[in-house]
């Protein structure tokens, strides 16, 4: 269990298992960076978790991304996973269009994804199908927009005491 599971081995096993669902693999700063197709994400994560060699038993983090310049694939979700036994980390990306922001939920695999997915929904509007309780978590329930999308400004437009021209905006 503690023989070295190298990045190259993970890459080759994933490509062998899932073929063209793996869109691209890179290595950045020691961590494998894998872009996969949205439809296969649950299978890939399940395989990574349940395979006795890979053993990625911990979901470190899940966050949303917005690339406004990537037409057709504006939104993304990034999963960071960690294998305690092999001391290995891995990063999975999925990309999809803003007009179809549905992603299958991983709360069935990792309970920790519950609030992380609510946060991604709150900030980016990504809807996780199958989530037990998808509602806003950090912002107010009746907020009309998803604030972390790049087209919305940081500042609150209705504030009266700060003049934008003095702040260089």
């Amino acid at each position: 269990m503690s023989d070295k599971v190298e990045n190259g081995l993970i890459e080759s096993l994933l490509k062998e298992q899932f073929g063209d669902a793996i869109r691209s693999v890179e290595e950045s700063y020691g961590m494998l960076d894998i872009v996969v197709k949205r439809e296969k994400i649950i299978e890939i994560i399940t395989w990574l978790r349940d395979s006795s060699l890979m053993n990625f038993n911990f979901l470190t983090s899940l966050c949303g991304m917005h690339f406004p310049d990537n037409k057709g694939e504006e939104l993304g979700v990034v999963y960071h996973m960690h294998s305690f036994a092999n001391n290995k980390r891995i990063r999975l990306h999925i990309l999809f269009s803003i007009s179809d922001p549905h992603v299958p939920t991983v709360t069935g695999l990792y309970r920790t994804a519950n609030w992380m997915e609510r946060e991604a929904f709150d900030f980016f509007g990504i809807k996780f199908t199958g989530h037990p309780d998808l509602r806003r978590i950090l912002n107010m329930e009746d907020m009309q927009y998803h604030p972390l999308l790049k087209q919305y400004p940081l500042e609150d437009g209705t504030r009266t005491d700060k003049e934008d021209k003095y702040f260089g905006r």
């Binding site: 960071h80 309970r111 309780d133 509602r135 950090l138």
Partner: protein
């Protein structure tokens, strides 16, 4: 009062965790609002508790009362201006957040810091860990009624603050260090204060332990309250002292050592049941281990003068270079105005914060501001397990469980 008319209006019905409460449940159970402003919840988050008398059946936490939009704010600030934002995450141990962020940027820039910088960082981070655990442990004692321990031990946080003031000028939100190291070396006064701290604090900590740790009342209140098993904790994404109390020995300092932690010899305390008493004892022992690490770092500190790495794009040049050389002036201007570009890439770096694995996922598009910065905040992740930990417990046990989990509102909401 016997026949309570319940309205048929859907909006008036009680929803708990997205599940609609039926009429019988609404009549039989009491829904208590442990509201955002409550003296015993140290921070502002709300819990609606569904109670049968004094026993808790279910709970719905609501957070976001101090949501300050750190992630959006970081996209609009140059790299150095993100450091004060990271300060405000876990504000009881803010140097750890600062140094974690600086290490993330150093990882992106492929900068290797000299040993002395690493050791200085270790000393500061372990002091911050002690400060955080002092707050958590004394507040657990306060919530069981033992106010005296809090007053005795809090005095030592002032000593730690005075140390930080010597190093960086600020007490609480330290904004400590620079990308690449520190702006000045430790003065002899800092070493003197560290020696005094290491000599006097153990006595105060021992006194606090003697009052509380083997105290019959404290043990009766805290043993078997808010338990969670190791597997469940891993599923919920626990890290840090809460996970170690449940029996899993995962510590980022040992698993993926950063800042020369592999040079130090320390043990990781583990609990067995994951209840409040275990969390208390794990934090207590971690404080002793931190003291030992600081002692080792002081003994092994290299006698050189290198308190920063060579990062000309981020480290301010010395003043005589600024006034006398052209490059010095240009770099000074660019760094202060935040006009330095950073290579394109994505990096994830994690440090062992006071509450667990504090991760920074930085995506850079080559500009002067991060394209996306995501904080993996341990408090946010393990607070999800709170309703499960207090099911079937009494209300007073729920309060102690919450304070033993060390939920810091700044890190919860970010």
């Amino acid at each position: 009062m016997s026949d309570i008319q319940l309205s048929n209006n859907k909006k008036d019905r009680q929803f708990l965790n997205g599940v609609e409460q039926s009429d019988e449940e609404l009549k039989q159970y009491n829904y208590l609002n442990l509201g955002p402003t409550h003296p015993a919840t140290h921070g502002i988050f709300q819990n609606i508790l569904k109670m049968d008398g004094e026993i808790i059946i279910d709970a719905q936490p609501t957070i976001g009362y101090i949501h300050r939009a750190f992630e959006k704010l970081a996209e609009h600030r140059p790299y150095y201006q993100v450091t004060p934002i990271t300060d405000r995450l876990n504000y009881c141990s803010s140097p750890i957040n600062n140094i974690g962020w600086h290490m993330t940027v150093e990882k992106l820039l492929n900068v290797k810091t000299p040993k002395k910088v690493d050791y200085m960082r270790v000393i500061i981070m372990e002091l911050a860990r002690i400060a955080d655990h002092i707050v958590c442990n004394s507040v657990i004692a306060v919530d069981t009624g033992a106010l005296t321990g809090f007053l005795y031990v809090f005095q030592w946080r002032e000593k730690i603050y005075e140390l930080y003031e010597q190093i960086c000028g600020a007490r609480l939100t330290t904004n400590i260090g620079r990308i690449g190291g520190f702006e000045r070396d430790f003065t002899p006064d800092v070493y003197r204060r560290l020696d005094e701290f290491l000599k006097d604090f153990p006595k105060a900590l021992k006194e606090f332990e003697n009052m509380v740790m083997r105290n019959r009342i404290f043990m009766d209140r805290t043993i078997n309250t808010g338990p969670i098993s190791g597997e469940r904790a891993l599923e919920y994404g626990f890290t840090g002292p809460n996970l170690r109390a449940a029996g899993v020995d995962y510590d980022v300092r040992v698993m993926t050592p950063y800042s020369s932690y592999e040079d130090f010899d320390f043990i990781i305390p583990i609990g067995t049941q994951g209840d409040t008493y275990d969390r208390f004892c794990v934090r207590e022992e971690e404080m002793w281990q931190s003291l030992s690490i600081i002692r080792q770092a002081l003994d092994k500190m290299p006698k050189t003068n290198e308190f920063f790495a060579d990062v000309p794009e981020f480290y301010l040049p010395p003043k005589d270079a600024v006034y006398n050389t052209m490059e010095g002036l240009i770099w000074h201007f660019k760094i202060v105005m935040g006009e330095v570009n950073v290579p394109k890439g994505q990096v994830y770096h994690c440090v062992e914060g006071g509450n667990g694995e504090l991760g920074f996922y930085l995506v850079s598009d080559g500009g002067r501001q991060p394209f996306r910065l995501h904080f993996r905040r341990p408090c946010f992740i393990y607070y999800q397990a709170y309703p499960e930990m207090i099911k079937g417990a009494l209300l007073s046990d729920a309060i102690i469980t919450m304070s033993s989990m060390n939920v810091i509102a700044g890190e919860l909401d970010a």
